[in-house]
């Protein structure tokens, strides 16, 4: 994997980048950092930020026309932009130490000539001198500063004395030779110099090179001659900025013999339009300057504190997972790539836990101003890890669901057109969990569809477990299987009851026409859904995001039932189930499911059976929309893992009989007949650990028939283990009657041990 394969997912993330105002600033001053320091009264550090960006802070604080203020995001709240110049002036005034830094670099032998001691030339000369180049400035007038935009000499400006003092201060720490009253008439006069910067001001002498001027590299057709400033038509402030840029380009030229931007940080000016939403930010009016002397310290601090410190962290701020791991999007992308370069088990993969902790819910993308989808990035990482395989692949995170999927696509599979037909116009694809949760959800829905449409049935898993595990080959295998069945059924339009199935089909089988069961139900005049609650909230699953037909269909049905509906503040948050994170990060899973359950104190109406499962387990009052439509809410308990499988087979049995006239005989096992006595408490614990009673039966049966088990005399207890490729299960039990066992404890682990069993 190349670094770009991962970083392209987050390329547009601008977390940590300068704010919009800084992109508008000719100097790209880090305004956020400057204002943050000012707001705390940290005058000297603030001054340094300002001085290092603009070179001549006094002049800039007086003459800059503040293009930053047009891109101040305060204005989005209806406030006036931050008073930048007043704040700069205050900072200069209150900074106790403004002495320029001394640069401890050895002097360099290269000589640079600057023609023109206007601010553009001065800026270039100052920076090159700081880098210890030997700099000579030629100026035909008798002093520095150049001209004002009106053509008058800068020295005519009422604040010139201050500008002058500031120039002197800034040049006090460097050696620059100034030759005043010297007019360069031809560049040949400067043949001894290694580079020349022409900054002769508006209408100044360009030595015939203006036409060949390159606005980006500031080069001319003469190899060592560079040019910039108002001579080239830019403003005075831009001229200073250009002088600073020129110093960096000239430095590159002197180092490598070629002008380049290697020392220049390139800013995309367009980013000055990149704004955040600022939901919830409060309006604060501009602090008025109370005296002609400018802001007092307190006023300046207060004004600077109005800065919103615009820096995007929307995704991190609103996703529990991103918050838990506290990594910036760009950093996650880099780790996705570097993790895959790690080989062997000794080096570590930094991102494993996070990769498998993501709900792949799309919420981050929905809040990101640039549509960055971190879920897609981590999904990419899952796929890469699965493809890389090897011993270090954490199979245990997804093993449970992959086993469930395997069951659904083999024993649970059924594809049938309505009785007596080979093909059909529609086929119901309920998904593997709907019938597992409540057989009636599938049976009643199918009965409805069958009565209204030429509709068959397709029972299978959509492949979400393989997708979330990053298992492309399994996903493809399943895709082929569905594709074949769908073709054999005459390419019916599939009717979906699960938004996750729909989105998986949308991604991997887009050729298949889809319609939502709830949209069809909503269209049906004759239905009268039951009013389970007076008021409720529709909890839209993450995978229904942007699926408006689905969202409105469900609302229509609930409204028809007479329920007053309320909306959640944040729609389409993942209930916690997405991405199958529960085993990879149990505590995060708990946190997320709790947040979702508490997002409203009203009962929920859900239309994803996985959301329902999550909320029912948390004792959050909720109904499936099908409970309303078919009057099915009758105190149904969440079925156990074992019951779920039995329910799925039950659904298949009934539908197979109905459409194919065949009695379905599910696979049988020797241990099926065992009866387990499991207390509610232990059952709950098993469900949390995703241990199915069926696994315990198998383990006990094996132990009882082989004799390999342990015995605890004082407690009259047996214990045995069942080692599966990924998980090892343990069960402690007591035999209470023939074929009947009381379960005392059940647990599992992922670490394997080496056991050499002798007969």
């Amino acid at each position: 994997m190349k670094l770009e394969d991962a970083t392209r997912y987050t390329a547009k993330c601008f977390n940590g980048e300068p704010a919009s105002c800084s992109y508008a600033c000719p100097f790209h001053l880090d305004i956020r950092s400057f204002l943050e320091k000012v707001s705390k009264g940290r005058w000297v550090p603030a001054y340094k930020v300002l001085r290092n960006a603009v070179n001549f802070p006094v002049l800039v604080s007086v003459l800059c026309d503040e293009p930053c203020r047009k891109h101040c995001q305060r204005t989005l709240l209806g406030d006036e932009a931050l008073a930048m110049r007043d704040l700069e002036a205050a900072c200069i005034k209150y900074a106790k130490n403004t002495k320029p830094e001394l640069f401890a670099i050895p002097p360099k032998s290269e000589r640079v000539a600057v023609i023109g001691a206007g601010v553009a030339g001065l800026a270039c000369a100052l920076n090159l001198a700081q880098k210890k180049y030997s700099v000579t400035v030629f100026e035909k007038e008798s002093g520095w500063g150049g001209y004002l935009p009106n053509g008058e000499n800068l020295s005519s400006h009422p604040r010139f004395a201050d500008f002058d003092r500031d120039f002197a201060l800034q040049f006090s720490a460097v050696d620059v030779e100034f030759r005043y009253g010297v007019e360069i008439k031809a560049l040949e006069e400067l043949a001894e110099f290694d580079a020349i910067y022409v900054a002769t001001g508006k209408n100044g002498n360009s030595f015939g090179l203006l036409d060949s001027w390159d606005a980006e590299l500031l080069t001319t057709s003469e190899n060592k001659v560079f040019m910039g400033g108002t001579l080239c038509g830019v403003s005075k402030m831009e001229g200073i900025a250009q002088g600073i840029r020129a110093s960096k380009i000239i430095e590159a030229f002197l180092q490598t013999g070629k002008a380049s931007l290697m020392n220049v940080f390139v800013y995309d000016k367009k980013n000055c339009e990149r704004y955040l939403k600022h939901d919830g930010a409060v309006s604060v009016p501009r602090v008025i300057v109370s005296s002609p002397e400018g802001y007092t310290e307190e006023e300046a601090k207060k004004e600077a504190a109005r800065c919103l410190l615009c820096d995007c962290d929307y995704c991190i701020a609103s996703c529990e997972m991103l918050q838990k791991f506290r990594k910036k999007p760009q950093k996650i992308a880099v780790e996705v790539a570097t993790d895959m370069q790690v080989v062997g088990t000794l080096a570590s993969r930094a991102l494993t836990r996070q990769t498998y902790s993501c709900n792949i819910c799309g919420h981050c993308k929905s809040v990101c101003p640039e549509d960055v989808d971190i879920g897609a990035l981590l999904q990419f990482s899952r796929t890469a890890r699965k493809n890389a395989g090897g011993e270090s692949y954490p199979a245990a995170f997804h093993d449970f669901w992959l086993r469930e999927m395997d069951f659904a696509v083999t024993e649970g599979f059924l594809a049938a057109a309505p009785q007596g037909k080979k093909t059909c116009e529609y086929a119901f694809f309920p998904g593997c969990q709907l019938g597992a949760f409540n057989p009636d959800y599938v049976l009643k829905s199918y009965e409805f569809l069958r009565s209204k449409y030429d509709c068959g049935i397709l029972l299978n898993c959509c492949g979400a477990p393989a997708y979330w595990a990053g298992d492309e080959s399994l996903l493809n295998e399943n895709r082929e299987k569905i594709w074949q069945a769908w073709n054999e059924m005459g390419q019916p339009t599939l009717v979906f009851a699960c938004a996750t199935c729909e989105s998986i089909f949308n991604m991997f089988l887009p050729e298949i026409k889809r319609v939502s069961l709830y949209a069809l139900l909503a269209e049906e005049e004759g239905l009268s859904p039951i009013r389970t609650y007076d008021e409720a909230v529709v909890f839209d699953p993450c995978n229904a995001r942007n699926n408006h037909g689905l969202e409105t269909g469900v609302r229509k049905l609930a409204t028809k039932a007479g329920i007053t509906l309320h909306e959640l503040k944040e729609p389409n948050r993942c209930c916690g189930y997405g991405g199958h994170i529960r085993l990879a990060n149990p505590s995060l899973y708990e946190e997320i499911t709790q947040h979702r359950a508490e997002a409203s104190d009203k009962p929920y109406i859900v239309y994803c059976v996985n959301c329902q499962d999550v909320f029912a387990r948390r004792d959050k009052e909720c109904s499936h929309i099908l409970d309303l439509v078919f009057d099915l809410k009758k105190g149904l308990k969440v079925p156990t893992l074992e019951q779920k499988r039995a329910n799925s087979l039950e659904v298949k049995k009934i539908l197979m009989k109905k459409e194919c006239g065949i009695d379905f005989e599910p696979e049988t096992h020797e241990w099926d007949g065992l009866e387990l006595l499991i207390s509610d408490e232990i059952q709950k614990d098993m469900e949390n650990k995703l241990i199915s009673a069926a696994d315990l039966k198998e383990a006990i049966w094996q132990a009882e028939s082989s004799g390999y088990k342990f015995y605890n005399e004082s407690e009259d207890l047996f214990m045995c283990s069942m080692i599966k490729p990924v998980i090892t299960y343990w069960v402690q039990y007591r035999k209470t009657a023939p074929q009947t066992y009381e379960i005392v404890s059940a647990y599992c682990h992922r670490i394997h041990f080496k056991e050499e069993v002798k007969p």
Binding site: Y708, Y711, E715, E755
Partner: protein, 65 residues
């Protein structure tokens, strides 16, 4: 505690279990640990405290590596 290995014996061999240095492996890492074992048939016993305590911690640490 009832789940401690020393309270158990192998039902098949009717032998008291003994502590034995046993090889464990996970995600490509290998290590050894003393656990109860049947001295005759070699069956290993992992008590719940171990599975959900130290072993779970180690699983997590190795998954994060």
């Amino acid at each position: 505690m009832s789940t401690e290995g020393k309270n158990w014996k192998c039902a098949k061999c009717d032998k008291q279990l003994v502590l034995k240095n046993t090889n464990f492996f996970y995600l490509g890492h290998k290590f050894t640990y003393d656990v109860y074992n049947c001295p005759q048939c070699g069956k290993v016993l992992i008590p719940r405290e171990l599975a959900e305590g130290r072993m779970a911690e180690l699983e997590e640490a190795l998954e994060d590596k």
